[in-house]
C-alpha cells in the first residue's frame, strides 16, 4: 500500500480560476467543507489574462439589451451548435453574477450615472461587456480570491481556523479522479513543491481546469493549460464533446519570438483599431461571410461612423466573430500580404489620440512597450492568430453541470463543453465561468449533502497504488522493461516530446485543416504516445518541472488525440473548425455532436494500437432547440443553419 497524505472534504474543486473559485464559494456557502486544488499559486490562474470584459445584458449603456438578445448573439456566434439550454441559462443569469461581484468588492468602470459601464465586443449586438480597463480577468480573479479570504475570515472568527471549511491547496496537481462503483470517491494528486503524494476523499469533484492550449505551439495559454480536466474526465469514464472546435484568437503578438501568441485584446478593435495588410488596405471588408452581410458595414465611412453613432451605422467588419477574423488574417498572410514577421497590422495609433489609447488600453500599451518595444500610440502592432480557447469539453448536464455518466463529477468553465458551440464570443467566457461555476458548486454541494455518511464511496486502495505508480513512473523511465507498453528504448526528454507535440498539433491540426494531414497527425501522436511512456526525468521530487511536464504529457496527448480524431471526422467548416477540403458549413452537421470516450473502459491507458488509439468517437444528435427560443430568430436566418426538416418539425 502506498503511503500518501490523506484528507477528507465534501467537495473538491480542481482549478482555482474564475469557475473553480466561484464553485468553491458556492459550495462553501451551502455549508460544505470545500477544498480547492490548483497548480499555480492562489490568484495566478489563467483567468487573469482575460482582458476585454464580462458579457452580461445589464443594459446599462444601451437599454435595448436583454437576455434574449444576448442568447441570440451567443447562438449566432457558435453557429447554432451551442447547447442551447446552457446558452439560455448563461444569458439569463450573467447580470446577477456580475452584480454579485460588486457586493464582494469589485470595482468596474462606471457609466456617467454611476452604473457598471459596458463596452462593445465582436459578435455582441449592444455594448455588453462589464470591464475594468483591459484587465477585467485580474479584477475577476482578485475579487473571487478576496471573497474566498473573507469566507475564511468568517470561519476564523467562528472556529479559530481559517481553513476550517474552505482550504486552497495551492501548487498541487491532480492526476486521477478516483471512483468506487462508478461514482466519484476522491482525487489523487501530488504537491508540486515537495513531490509528496496525496489523496482527498470526497464524494463530489468539480473540474474547473481550463483549456488545452499548451498542446499547440503558438498559443495565448499559460503552462497550466495542459488539458488536465479534459483528461481526468476521460480517464474517469466521462465523455467529451465538440473537441474539434478550437478558437484561434485573431490577434496574438507575432514578434518577438518569445512572446509569440500572447494575446492582443479584442478591445483594441472594439475601441477603434483596424486591421491592415502590408499594402495598407483594410482587408476585412473582403471577408464578411454571407450569413453576416446585413449586420456589417460595407464601406470605411459607414464602419467609422459606427463608433460614435451605432444606431444608424452597421458595425465595422473588424468586429466579426473571432473565427472569421482569424481566417481572414490567415488568408492575407498566405497571399503574401503579411508583415515582415508574418502577421498583419493592427493599428490604433492613427485612430485615437495617444492619451485616449493609454487610458483605454493601458495594459496593451504597457505590454507592447515592455515586451516588443513598440509604442502603440505611434505605430501599428503586428498580430496573427493564436490558439486561444477550447470550445469542447466535458459533456455536462446544462442545468447542473454534472458530467454525464459519472455521479459526483461536475465540470464548469472552459473544461466543460457545449455552451459556446463551435465558436465563443469574446466576453462570454468570463460570464460562463461565473454562471456555470456557481451552478457546478451548487449542485456538487447538493449532491454531497444528499449522501449519508455511510453512503459516501470509499476510495479503493488499489486505485491509489496504481495512481502512485503512474505518477512516479518518470523517475524510473530508463528501467522500463519490455513489458511496458512503450517498449524498450532510451529515456525521452519530456521537453523535447512536448515541443514535438506542439509542432504536430500546430502544423497538422491547426487553424486550417486537411484530412490527410490530420490522419498523419494521428500516426505521429501514436508514436509520441509510445515515446512518452519512456519520458524520464533527473533530480528528485521536490519542485521538479521536468517531472511535472512528464505527467502533463499524458493529458496533452489524450486531448490532442480527441481534437485530431473529431476534426478528421467532421467534414464541414464551422466556427473554430475550418477544413480546407470541406470549406462549406453543412446544415446536416449542425445537430451532430462528436463524443469522445476512452477506448479502455477501465480507465487504464493500455491501448496503443495506432489505428484506434485511446479515443473512441461516436456521433450523437443534439436535442432540438426549444420552440420559444427558436422564435427569437427570424425564419430566414434560421434557414442558414437548420435543415428544412428541423424547421418544419
Amino acid at each position: 500500500m502506498t503511503q500518501v497524505e490523506r484528507h477528507a472534504y465534501d467537495v473538491v474543486v480542481v482549478g482555482a480560476g474564475g469557475a473553480g473559485l466561484r464553485a468553491a464559494i458556492e459550495a462553501r456557502e451551502r455549508g460544505m467543507r470545500t477544498a480547492v486544488i490548483c497548480k499555480s499559486l492562489f490568484g495566478k490562474a489563467h483567468t487573469v489574462m482575460a482582458e476585454g470584459g464580462i458579457a452580461a445584458s445589464m443594459g446599462n449603456v444601451n437599454s435595448g439589451d436583454n437576455w434574449q438578445v444576448h442568447f441570440r448573439d451567443t447562438m449566432r456566434g457558435g453557429k447554432f451548435l451551442n447547447q442551447w439550454r446552457m446558452a439560455e441559462l448563461h444569458a439569463k443569469e450573467a447580470p446577477d453574477r456580475v452584480w454579485e461581484l460588486e457586493t464582494w468588492g469589485a470595482l468596474f468602470d462606471r457609466t456617467a450615472d454611476g452604473r457598471i459601464s459596458q463596452r462593445n465586443f465582436g459578435g455582441h449586438e449592444y455594448p455588453r461587456l462589464a470591464h475594468v480597463g483591459d484587465r477585467t480577468g485580474l479584477e475577476l480573479i482578485r475579487t473571487l480570491q478576496q471573497k474566498v479570504v473573507s469566507l475564511q475570515q468568517e470561519d476564523f472568527a467562528e472556529t479559530g481556523d481559517y481553513e476550517a471549511r474552505l482550504k486552497v491547496f495551492q501548487e498541487c496537481t491532480v492526476t486521477r479522479v478516483l471512483k468506487r462503483d462508478g461514482a466519484v470517491a476522491g482525487v489523487f494528486g501530488y504537491v508540486r513543491e515537495s513531490g509528496r503524494l496525496f489523496v482527498i476523499d470526497a464524494p463530489a469533484v468539480v473540474l474547473a481546469t481550463g483549456g488545452i492550449g499548451k498542446s499547440f505551439k503558438v498559443t495565448s495559454n499559460s503552462w497550466e493549460y495542459t488539458g488536465d480536466g479534459h483528461a481526468l474526465a476521460l480517464l474517469a469514464g466521462a465523455p467529451l464533446i465538440n473537441m474539434e472546435f478550437i478558437q484561434f484568437h485573431p490577434t496574438g503578438m507575432v514578434w518577438p519570438p518569445s512572446v509569440k501568441g500572447i494575446l492582443v485584446t479584442e478591445s483594441v478593435r472594439g475601441d477603434g483599431g483596424v486591421l491592415r495588410n502590408s499594402d495598407g488596405k483594410r482587408f476585412m471588408f473582403d471577408y464578411v461571410p454571407d450569413v453576416f452581410k446585413e449586420k456589417y458595414a460595407q464601406s470605411e465611412e459607414e464602419a467609422d461612423g459606427w463608433y460614435t453613432d451605432p444606431d444608424t451605422h452597421r458595425r465595422p467588419p473588424e468586429l466579426l466573430p473571432r473565427d472569421e477574423v482569424a481566417r481572414a488574417i490567415n488568408s492575407e498572410v498566405k497571399a503574401g500580404r503579411g508583415t515582415p514577421h508574418g502577421g498583419v497590422f493592427l493599428d490604433v495609433s492613427t485612430r485615437l489620440p495617444a492619451e485616449e489609447i493609454t487610458r483605454r488600453l493601458p495594459s496593451m500599451h504597457h505590454q507592447f512597450k515592455e515586451l516588443a518595444d513598440v509604442d502603440i500610440t505611434a505605430e501599428p502592432m503586428e498580430v496573427g492568430p493564436t490558439c486561444h480557447y477550447m470550445m469542447g469539453g466535458v459533456d455536462v448536464d446544462p442545468d447542473t453541470a454534472a458530467a454525464r455518466g459519472v455521479p459526483g463529477l461536475y465540470a464548469a468553465g472552459e473544461v466543460a463543453g457545449g455552451m459556446h458551440g463551435s465558436n465563443r464570443l469574446g466576453g462570454n467566457s468570463l460570464s460562463d465561468l461565473l454562471v456555470f461555476g456557481r451552478r457546478a458548486g451548487l449542485h456538487a454541494a447538493e449532491y454531497a449533502a444528499a449522501l449519508g455518511a455511510d453512503e459516501r464511496p470509499v476510495v479503493p486502495e488499489e486505485q491509489i497504488d496504481t495512481a502512485a505508480a503512474e505518477a512516479l513512473r518518470p523517475f524510473s523511465a530508463e528501467e522500463a522493461g519490455p513489458d511496458e507498453p512503450g517498449g524498450q528504448g532510451p529515456a525521452e526528454n519530456p521537453y523535447t516530446l512536448h515541443q514535438e507535440l506542439q509542432q504536430v498539433m500546430n502544423d497538422l491540426v491547426g487553424i486550417i485543416r486537411r484530412g490527410p494531414e490530420m490522419a498523419d497527425a494521428l500516426t505521429r501522436l501514436t508514436e509520441l504516445r509510445a515515446r512518452s511512456r519512456r519520458a524520464g526525468v533527473e533530480g528528485h521530487r521536490q519542485f521538479n518541472p521536468g517531472w511535472h511536464l512528464a505527467i502533463d504529457l499524458r493529458n496533452m496527448l489524450l486531448v490532442s488525440e480527441c481534437v485530431a480524431r473529431a476534426a478528421l471526422e467532421r467534414t464541414e467548416s464551422r466556427g473554430g473548425h475550418t477544413r480546407d477540403d470541406h470549406p462549406e458549413m453543412d446544415r446536416a452537421w449542425r445537430k451532430v455532436n462528436l463524443v469522445c470516450e476512452l477506448t479502455d473502459p477501465t480507465g487504464g491507458l493500455a491501448a496503443t494500437d495506432p489505428e484506434h488509439g485511446q479515443i473512441g468517437l461516436r456521433r450523437r444528435d443534439t436535442d432540438p432547440i426549444r420552440a420559444d427560443l427558436l422564435a427569437l430568430f427570424d425564419k430566414d436566418e434560421l434557414r442558414k443553419y437548420l435543415t428544412d426538416e428541423e424547421l418544419d418539425g
Partner: protein
C-alpha cells in the same frame, strides 16, 4: 542576432545552495525567463522556477536579476550587454523552496489579516452606484498582480526577519488603502477604522517611505505616493492630531 551569454543561477534549497554558471544561447527579442526555460530544456531539466502568463500579468516569475527584484518575463535581454554576466537568484526576503522558487506564504498570511470589504447594508446587488472619479484611486491599487516584489524589496522585512510578524508590507497596506478609499465600503459602520487599524495592527509606522516598493512595481503603481502616504495622513487625522494625541497619552498614563 544570437550569442552565448554567461548566466549565474542560484541552485539549491533551504539547506544550502550556490550560484552555478551556465553558458546559454540568447536570441533577439528574448527575456530572462526565456533563457531560464532554455536552461531547463537543455541543461538543467529540474531547474525549479515559477511562471505562468509570460506577459507580466500574473506576477508568478518574480526573482532577482543582477540583485534587483524583477519579473523575469518582463526583463528583456537587450538591457544587458552580451559580455555581461547575468545573475538570477530567488527573492531573498522569503524562505527558499528550491532554486528560483520561494515560499511566499508570508503574503497569503498577511492577506488574511486584512479585514475584507464590508458591503453597505440595505444596498442590493445591482443597486450599487459609484462614480468613476470615486473608484479610480482604488482601481489603481487593484492593478496589483501580487508578484510580491514590493514585499521582497521592502527593507523592513528584507533586512529584519523579526518584523514579519508585525508588518503587513506594502502590498497589504495598499490593500487597506484601497478599501479605505472604496466609495461604498461600510467598515466604519461595523466599528472598523481602517486607517488607524493600519497603524495599530498592520505596522504602517514601520514604513519609512523610502519608496523601493514603488521603484520595483512592474505595474507602475505609485504605492508610496498614492497609497502609503495617504494612509499615513488618514491615520494622522485619527491619531496624531497633537492635542488629541497628548490627551490620550496623559489619560493612558493615569490609567
Amino acid at each position: 542576432m544570437s550569442y552565448e551569454a554567461h548566466f549565474r543561477v542560484w541552485r539549491g534549497d533551504a539547506e544550502g545552495g550556490e550560484l552555478r554558471d551556465y553558458q546559454v544561447e540568447v536570441n533577439d527579442g528574448e527575456v530572462v525567463l526565456d533563457i531560464i526555460h532554455r536552461l531547463q530544456a537543455t541543461q538543467a531539466g529540474d531547474l525549479a522556477v515559477r511562471w505562468n502568463c509570460k506577459a507580466g500579468k500574473c506576477g508568478s516569475c518574480s526573482a532577482e536579476v543582477n540583485g534587483r527584484p524583477r519579473l523575469m518575463c518582463m526583463t528583456r535581454m537587450s538591457v544587458f550587454t552580451p559580455e555581461e554576466t547575468v545573475t538570477v537568484t530567488p527573492m531573498r526576503t522569503f524562505p527558499v523552496v528550491r532554486d528560483l522558487v520561494t515560499d511566499v506564504s508570508f503574503n497569503y498570511d498577511k492577506a488574511r489579516q486584512v479585514p475584507a470589504f464590508v458591503p453597505p447594508k440595505g444596498v442590493a446587488a445591482g443597486e450599487y452606484r459609484m462614480r468613476q472619479v470615486d473608484v479610480e484611486r482604488s482601481q489603481e491599487f487593484r492593478k496589483c498582480i501580487e508578484c510580491f516584489l514590493c514585499q521582497d524589496t521592502c527593507h523592513v522585512v528584507r533586512d529584519h526577519e523579526e518584523n514579519k510578524t508585525s508588518f503587513a508590507g506594502p502590498r497589504f497596506l495598499m490593500r487597506i488603502a484601497e478599501l479605505d478609499m472604496h466609495p461604498l465600503d461600510a467598515a466604519a459602520e461595523v466599528g472598523l477604522t481602517r486607517s488607524s487599524s493600519a497603524q495599530e495592527d498592520h505596522g504602517l509606522g514601520y514604513c519609512n517611505i523610502t519608496k523601493c516598493c514603488t521603484e520595483v512595481c512592474p505595474e507602475h503603481i505609485k504605492i508610496t505616493d498614492n497609497a502609503l502616504i495617504p494612509l499615513k495622513e488618514r491615520a494622522v487625522d485619527r491619531k496624531y492630531d497633537p492635542l488629541v494625541w497628548l490627551g490620550n497619552k496623559i489619560r493612558r498614563r493615569d490609567a
